[in-house]
């Protein structure tokens, strides 16, 4: 069953066409990894799904059947779509627990006590229950990213978008974040993950998408796209990444 549907997605920055008519369907519970060289439009693609980026009028995106339009419906889509950023974007003036509590409190009008209980469950799940009263600045990068995941999960999203969640991390912290994402994939949440972690893609993805120049060049099961790509551009990209 299609959960996220993208039709003819075009995105212009001025005259520059960053996305050249993307078509993509993601099924409920599917884990899709998006790979590709820098500047190929990966971030732009997933940022269009919750309309952090505007897109042209003839493009169609829907999430769970709800069109990603401007206005009231957009709030509904955003509440169903969680997002994790490369640079964490935690709220520095709030404690870790308050970071996780904020959206349920404001958007869902959850009571303070319930939101706090839920936050503690989520923080426990991502392995940072003991840091709940600290401020984000006092946490390591890996811990901050795990808080960001918990914060997104607090809205009980149907889809989680990840934009290079481990690219800003010191190498020794990458594993702890990928572990949390791996656990999450097992719970049946639909995930769209932009990543350079080929090991993670190979192991966790149901489907790998290779993008270049604002287009989807190749897609398929990880065993096919990562080990036996049919497109020369994919092969070039993979060899440049693997020889890194």
């Amino acid at each position: 069953m299609t959960f996220v549907s993208i039709r003819n997605l075009r995105k212009y920055y001025g005259p520059f066409e960053a996305l050249k008519g993307i078509d993509l369907d993601v099924a409920k519970g599917e884990v899709v990894c998006v790979i590709g060289p820098s500047g190929s439009g990966k971030s732009t693609l997933i940022r269009c799904i919750n309309r952090l980026e505007d897109f042209s009028d003839d493009s169609r995106i829907s999430v769970d059947g709800i069109p990603v339009a401007t206005g009231r419906a957009l709030a509904k889509v955003r509440a169903e779509v969680g997002m994790v950023f490369q640079s964490f974007n935690l709220f520095p003036h709030l404690t870790v627990r308050e970071n996780v509590m904020l959206a349920p409190r404001r958007v869902r009008s959850t009571s303070r006590a319930d939101a706090a209980r839920q936050a503690d469950v989520l923080l426990d799940r991502v392995g940072i229950a003991s840091q709940a009263d600290k401020y984000p600045d006092h946490l390591s990068g890996g811990q901050q990213q795990r808080v960001a995941i918990a914060r997104a999960l607090a809205m009980e999203p149907q889809v989680m978008l990840f934009d290079e969640p481990t690219s800003a991390l010191d190498p020794e912290m990458v594993g702890e974040v990928l572990d949390v994402m791996r656990d999450l994939a097992r719970t049946g949440v639909t995930m769209i993950v932009v990543t350079h972690e080929m090991g993670f893609a190979a192991q966790v993805a149901d489907r790998v998408i290779f993008m270049d120049g604002g287009q989807i060049v190749e897609q398929g099961p990880p065993a096919q796209v990562l080990s036996n790509p049919s497109e020369p551009r994919t092969r070039n990209f993979l060899s440049s990444v693997l020889n890194h």
């Binding site: 952090l52 509440a79 904020l102 959206a103 958007v107 960001a148 914060r151």
Partner: protein, 223 residues
């Protein structure tokens, strides 16, 4: 004649002190109400300046530029002496407060705008991605962070407003300066003026020192 008898005459000071205190009370009332009204106006203007529809945004910019350009004394005299020709007759207090608020609001708007623009884009994006609306994003995420940045310049602006209340003496407000000049006329001695100056200093010097300290602290924290 002794310089102390002229400028710091204890007897004159003692006699005029109650008048000066009355003036101080009015100065503080005028200053504080103008500061608060200016903050509210400034916040509203900053929001319009940043997020309103294009024509309103443009008008807000024009307002801000006009009221940062016009000399306060000119504005005050227009409000008090010119508006009555349009049938708008404000008391001296309301005239002074309006003029101070209109100008303070323009400066405050720019301070808030700079504070909001200093917040990284990622904070807005994270808020939007969580489903917070514009008002919630401002109230819960952006303004609490911006406040830290804007407190030193806002305090500075408040100092200016209190200093500028002295201009209200030209529209017959019995503020600190007016009381001092009247006491001076009564006693034929400038001591009350010196007294008024000392009272202004006693209130504003600590605030000036506080701003310097905050600015140093913020600069240090930014690394």
């Amino acid at each position: 004649m002794d310089i102390f008898d002229t400028f710091l005459n204890a007897e004159v000071m003692r006699r005029s002190f109650p008048m000066l205190l009355k003036g101080l009370w009015i100065t503080l009332q005028l200053g504080i109400s103008s500061i608060i009204a200016g903050l509210l106006l400034g916040l509203a203007l900053a929001m319009a300046r940043l997020y309103a529809v294009a024509p309103l945004r443009f008008l807000t910019r024009v307002y801000i530029d006009i009221f940062r350009s016009i000399p306060l004394l000119v504005l005050l005299i227009i409000v008090y002496y010119a508006l009555p020709f349009l049938g708008i007759r404000l008391s001296p207090f309301m005239s002074a407060m309006s003029a101070l608020t209109l100008v303070s609001g323009a400066y405050t708007a720019e301070i808030f705008r700079a504070g909001i623009e200093a917040i990284p884009k990622g904070q807005f994006e994270a808020s939007a991605a969580l489903g917070l609306n514009g008002r919630q994003t401002m109230a819960d995420v952006i303004l609490p962070q911006a406040v830290r940045v804007v407190i030193p310049p806002l305090t500075n602006n408040s100092i200016n407003v209190i200093k500028d209340t002295a201009l209200a003496s030209v529209v017959a407000m019995p503020d600190l300066l007016k009381q001092a000049t009247q006491a001076q006329a009564l006693s034929a001695n400038p001591t009350p003026l010196i007294g008024a100056a000392l009272i202004y200093l006693a209130f504003l010097w600590p605030l000036v020192a506080l701003v310097s300290r905050m600015e140093r602290r913020f600069a240090a924290r930014r690394r």
